[in-house]
C-alpha cells in the first residue's frame, strides 16, 4: 500500500533540499524573514548556535549577524533575551524572572496540637517561661515545638525572668499578630467569652467549680503568681 504520509514527507524533504541547496533560484529572504529564521533556530536548538552554524542552515545570501542584532533588539526588555554564550548565541530567560523557574509547592500542614497549645499559652500568659508552659499544659514542651514556633516567627525570646536561674521567657511577635489578625495580644478573648461564643467544646464541667475560673485579667498577668512556683524548674 502506498503510504501517503511518507510520500508527503519525501516530497517535503525534496523541497527542503531544493530550498537550501539552490542559490540561483532563491534570492536572500527579506531581513524580517531572516530574523524569523534565527529566532526559530535559537528557540529549537538545545545548544547555543554560532552565526556560522545558523548561516549554514539558512538560504544563501542571508546576513545572520544583522538578523541577530535586530532580533536582540526586539527581545530587549522581554521575558527572554538573546544572549551571547562564548562565540555562540542562545535564548535565555531574563535574569529578573528566574524566580519563575522554580515552582513552590506549598503544603499546608496543620500545626500539631502541642504546637498550637504552646503558642496559645504563650499568647495568653506572655511573658512566660518554658517551665510555666509545661505546668499549664501538664506535659513537657519539646524543643522541636519551641523551635518551630520560633522559626515561624510567631514567638520570640522575651526578657529573662528576675528569679533564680533567670529563666528566659517567651512572648509573641508582630508576625503572630499579623498572622492571626490581632491588633494586640490583649485582644485575645478570655475563657468566658470563648465559652459564650461556643468556641469551646461544650463541656458541662465549665461551671462546676466556679471559683477556679480565672478572670480575664488573670489571663494576661498571672505570671507573677506563677513565679513563686517555678524556682526549681528552670528552662533547660
Amino acid at each position: 500500500m502506498s503510504d501517503i504520509a511518507n510520500e508527503i514527507m519525501d516530497h517535503a524533504s525534496a523541497v527542503a533540499d531544493k530550498v537550501v541547496g539552490d542559490p540561483v533560484l532563491f534570492e536572500a529572504p527579506p531581513m524580517a524573514e531572516q530574523e524569523r529564521m534565527v529566532e526559530a533556530m535559537l528557540f529549537a536548538s538545545a545548544e547555543p548556535l554560532t552565526s556560522e552554524e545558523m548561516a549554514g542552515r539558512m538560504p544563501h545570501g542571508t546576513d545572520v549577524a544583522e538578523a541577530i542584532v535586530r532580533l536582540r533588539k526586539r527581545y530587549e526588555g522581554r521575558g527572554v533575551e538573546i544572549v551571547k554564550v562564548g562565540h555562540a548565541w542562545a535564548i535565555r530567560t531574563a535574569g529578573d524572572l528566574s524566580f519563575l523557574m522554580s515552582r513552590e509547592r506549598t503544603e499546608t500542614r496543620k500545626l500539631s496540637r502541642a504546637a498550637i497549645e504552646t503558642l496559645a499559652i504563650i499568647a495568653y500568659h506572655q511573658p512566660v517561661t518554658r517551665a510555666e508552659i509545661e505546668e499549664i499544659r501538664g506535659v513537657s514542651v519539646s524543643r522541636g515545638t519551641v523551635d518551630l514556633l520560633l522559626e515561624l516567627d510567631w514567638i520570640k525570646l522575651g526578657r529573662r525572668r528576675m528569679t533564680p536561674g533567670r529563666p528566659v521567657t517567651f512572648v509573641t511577635t508582630q508576625e503572630f499578630l499579623d498572622h492571626f489578625g490581632l491588633e494586640t495580644a490583649r485582644d485575645l478573648p478570655g475563657l468566658k467569652e470563648l465559652r459564650a461564643s461556643g468556641l469551646l467544646d461544650n463541656r458541662p464541667i465549665g461551671g462546676m467549680v466556679p471559683g477556679l475560673e480565672p478572670s480575664d485579667e488573670d489571663l494576661l498577668d498571672d505570671d507573677e503568681v506563677l513565679d513563686e512556683d517555678d524556682q526549681d524548674e528552670m528552662f533547660e
Partner: protein, 270 residues
C-alpha cells in the same frame, strides 16, 4: 455465475489498477499483507469502480469467494477469519438471491448487505482521515518545541496552618484540662484534705448569717499558690456540700460562673 473460481480471480485481477494488482498478488503469496478480510473486501470493492455506497454487495461476495477459492487452489494457508468471512458471505449471497423466507428470524439479506457497505465505507473514511492526520505538520518534523528547556525546580514550602479559631480552641482546651487535672497527691503540703476544709469552714462560718463567697473560707496560706489554691477551693467546695447536706449551711450561686455563696443555715428551718 462462473463456476471456475480461478477464472474469476483472473477477471477480477484484470480490473485492478497496477498497484492494486501488485497488492493482490502480494495477497496470494502472503495473505497477511492485508489487514484482515474487511480490508480485502474494501480492495475488491474498489475494483467495481463505483462509489462505495453503490457497490454491489452481491458481486462483492462473489469476488471474495472466488478469491478465496483461488487461494485454496494455490494451497495457501488462509487465516481463519478469512474463511469465516467467506462462509458468512456465502450465507449472505444465498440470502440475497433467494426470496425472503417470512419464517426466518433476524435481519434480512438487505440489512446485512447495507451494514457491510457501511463498514466498508467507514473503514475507507478512517483510512482517509488517518492519511490527513499524518499529513499534518508534526512536532519534531515540521515544527519544534524548545530545545533548551529549563527544568522547573520544585521547592517545597510548608505552610503551617493555624487560624485564630485554632488558637483560641487550643487555649480553651488547655485551660479546661488544667481545671480538671486530677490532683497530684504526691506533695501532701499542696493538698487541703476534706477534713481540714470541713474543720476550717465550721470554724469560720461561726455566727454570721450573711452570704459570703466560698473563696473567703480558704485557710491562710492557701490563697496564692495556684495549686494550693485549687486544692483548697475543691476541698472547701466539697466541704460546703457536705455541710449543706447535713443542714448546717446554705449554698447559692447567682448565675453560672458566679462565685458560690455560703451562709450558716438559720436554726428555725431545722
Amino acid at each position: 455465475m462462473p463456476e471456475d473460481g480461478a477464472l474469476e480471480v483472473e477477471e477480477v485481477k484484470a480490473e485492478f489498477s497496477v498497484s492494486e494488482r501488485v497488492a493482490s498478488e502480494a495477497l496470494l503469496v502472503d495473505v497477511d499483507g492485508f489487514e484482515g478480510p474487511l480490508d480485502l473486501l474494501l480492495v475488491l470493492a474498489r475494483t467495481q469502480k463505483v462509489d462505495l455506497r453503490r457497490v454491489s454487495i452481491l458481486q462483492l461476495a462473489e469476488q471474495y469467494l472466488a478469491f478465496v477459492e483461488a487461494a485454496k487452489k494455490l494451497r495457501l494457508e488462509l487465516a481463519a477469519d478469512y474463511l469465516v468471512m467467506a462462509a458468512w458471505l456465502a450465507f449472505l449471497k444465498s440470502r440475497l438471491l433467494l426470496p425472503a423466507d417470512p419464517t426466518e428470524e433476524g435481519p434480512s439479506g438487505e440489512d446485512l448487505a447495507a451494514h457491510l457497505a457501511f463498514q466498508l465505507e467507514r473503514l475507507e473514511a478512517m483510512r482517509e482521515v488517518a492519511a490527513k492526520l499524518m499529513a499534518r505538520d508534526q512536532k519534531g518534523r515540521e515544527f519544534f518545541a524548545r530545545g533548551h528547556s529549563v527544568d522547573v525546580d520544585q521547592r517545597r514550602v510548608v505552610e503551617w496552618g493555624a487560624n485564630l479559631s485554632d488558637l483560641l480552641k487550643a487555649y480553651a482546651r488547655v485551660k479546661t484540662k488544667e481545671d480538671f487535672k486530677p490532683m497530684h497527691l504526691d506533695k501532701r503540703d499542696r493538698v487541703l484534705t476534706l477534713e481540714q476544709a470541713l474543720e476550717g469552714m465550721r470554724a469560720l462560718i461561726g455566727g454570721s448569717l450573711d452570704w459570703a463567697s466560698l473563696s473567703s473560707f480558704l485557710p491562710e496560706g492557701w490563697q496564692v499558690d495556684p495549686k494550693r489554691r485549687r486544692s483548697a477551693m475543691a476541698s472547701s467546695f466539697a466541704a460546703s456540700l457536705e455541710l449543706a447536706k447535713r443542714g448546717e449551711v446554705e449554698l447559692k450561686q447567682e448565675r453560672v460562673f458566679a462565685p458560690v455563696l455560703v451562709r450558716k443555715k438559720a436554726r428555725a428551718h431545722v
